[in-house]
Amino acid sequence: MDISLSQVEYRYQANTPFERIAIQDVSIDIPTGTYLALIGHTGSGKSTVLQHLNALLVPTEGTVKIGEHEIKSHQKNKNLREVRQKVGIVFQFPEHQLFEETVEKDIIFGPMNFGVSEKEAKARAREALKQVGLGEEILEKSPFDLSGGQMRRVAIAGVLAMNPDVLVLDEPTAGLDPRGRNEIMEMFYTLHKKRNLSTILVTHSMEDAAKYADQIVIMQRGRVMKKGTPTEIFSSPSELVKMGLDVPEVVRFQMKLEQKLSVKLDKVYLSIEELSSAVAELLGRGVRT
């Protein structure tokens, strides 16, 4: 399902003395199957953009197109449920949304709200649990008896069981330890590939953006500052640093190395593997300083 935002603006508490512009002139295209990373500091407007992706917020100016649905301000926006069924959102600390008595009931809650039969929903729950790396034996447990990491996975399973076409992830690994972080990110990536999902990852992590995304959008002060492929975005790392943003560790290392050795590699490398090969070759040839 294609999503596109064109010239979207959102004001909180519009027409009151407390009015505040959260985002303006935001245009982003997300064709089916894209893995898009949305990057920016806290307060850059990225969470506001996220909430437009399934009509939790309706723009005060501009248009959001989600599949066939057009969402605009000053008009009655019907069938938002259809949109919400297609776009699953994993919010930050999603374990906070768990509420049912058992893991199974919690996972089927979403699908059944959207009219899926109980039998079908239960089948999906099993499937979703497997995807997030949990065993069926926890289906009958209370979600509140699980460990923090397991709760996170159950909450994610609850979103996956809705069978969304688009998956929106808001800092899905915040607070997890390195192993948990890696497992969850890999899981989403596998799913992205296997189901040809559109994935939108809202993150602070330049590493994850460089590693998984095919498109990156950088937000700053409510506006889109830069967009492009990871290679495009990171090919001018000093510009990002000037904007007060991080660059992936690999890119930062390449910058430092180039500076120290007074050389310029042919391009920006986004993985340790590629960079180390390039450096090995360079050093093998010998560097003239």
Partner: protein, 265 residues
């Protein structure tokens, strides 16, 4: 959507009333509530009105904020007025139409009682409009200190109040977040038959309870780690200072009381 609920309370502007000690404001309110019942004729009501509007003027609070406080109770005031109007008998019959009879005394009583209501609301909302909740808590704590002798847990109550005040915005944000997460999972909070809507609240309330308990637990641990072991031997950082204006204001109210006693019939 949650942010709207809190404002309409404290209005942060510099005014004489804002700078007053919360203790004097609380004393004035309590006294005012008592002496307003002394008013029973036009002249005493005029005195009360004069006092109220004088205080409103001093506070510099814009009218729309006052109106916000009045709006919810305006029907109650109207209802009391009508009740008095139709059911108080005495004096000359002014209006007679079938079963409806209105007497002079009915009009008088109706007006007086609704005016009393009206002034009470104005003066009490002036307190919340010009005093932060934490100041009110501090004021109450100090005023109630003598009750400690009767083993009334004054310090604990005040601490509970200030912690609740501290966490209201946090809980608002949390509510908003969980609501959105459940909307994304297909819950509809705003539409459907009433039964469905009540059911929709459960996925909101349970997570809120769970997280509030967790917060309470963590907060208790943090407080203990910072050496909190009850009110005994504690000093206070927040300080109240009683100034000239406070004495003058209480004095003004005493004068009003005397005038009311002189002029009431």
């Amino acid at each position: 959507m949650m942010e709207k609920m809190i404002f309409g309370r404290y209005v942060p502007i510099p005014s004489v009333i804002h700078k007053m000690d919360p203790r004097s404001k609380l004393i004035i309110i309590f006294l005012f509530v008592a002496i307003i019942f002394l008013a029973n004729n036009w002249i005493t009501y005029a005195l009360i009105a004069l006092y109220t509007f004088f205080m409103l003027g001093l506070s510099k609070v814009p009218f729309r904020f006052l109106y916000g406080g009045l709006k919810p109770v305006i029907w109650l005031v109207l209802f009391t007025f009508l009740l008095q109007l139709f059911f108080t008998k005495g004096g000359n019959l002014v209006f007679d139409w079938g079963p409806i009879e209105i007497y002079e005394e009915g009009i008088r009583m109706g007006l007086f009682i609704s005016l009393r209501f009206f002034f009470l609301i104005l003066i009490t909302s002036l307190l919340t409009l010009t005093t932060t909740p934490i100041e009110i808590t501090d004021g109450l704590e100090t005023l109630l200190t003598p009750l400690k002798k009767l083993r009334f847990p004054v310090h604990e109550m005040a601490l509970m109040m200030s912690i609740s005040l501290r966490f209201i915005p946090t809980l608002m944000q949390e509510t908003d977040k969980i609501m959105k997460a459940q909307i994304a999972r297909g819950v509809e909070f705003a539409s459907g038959p009433i039964k469905e809507r009540i059911k929709a609240v459960i996925p909101l309330l349970i997570p809120l309870f769970v997280s509030s308990f967790k917060r309470a637990e963590e907060l208790a641990i943090a407080m203990e780690a910072r050496g909190y072991r009850g009110g005994e031997g504690r000093t206070k950082y927040r300080q109240l200072s009683w100034r000239m204006i406070d004495t003058l204001q209480v004095g003004l109210l005493v004068i009003l009381t005397i005038l009311l006693i002189i002029f009431r019939s």
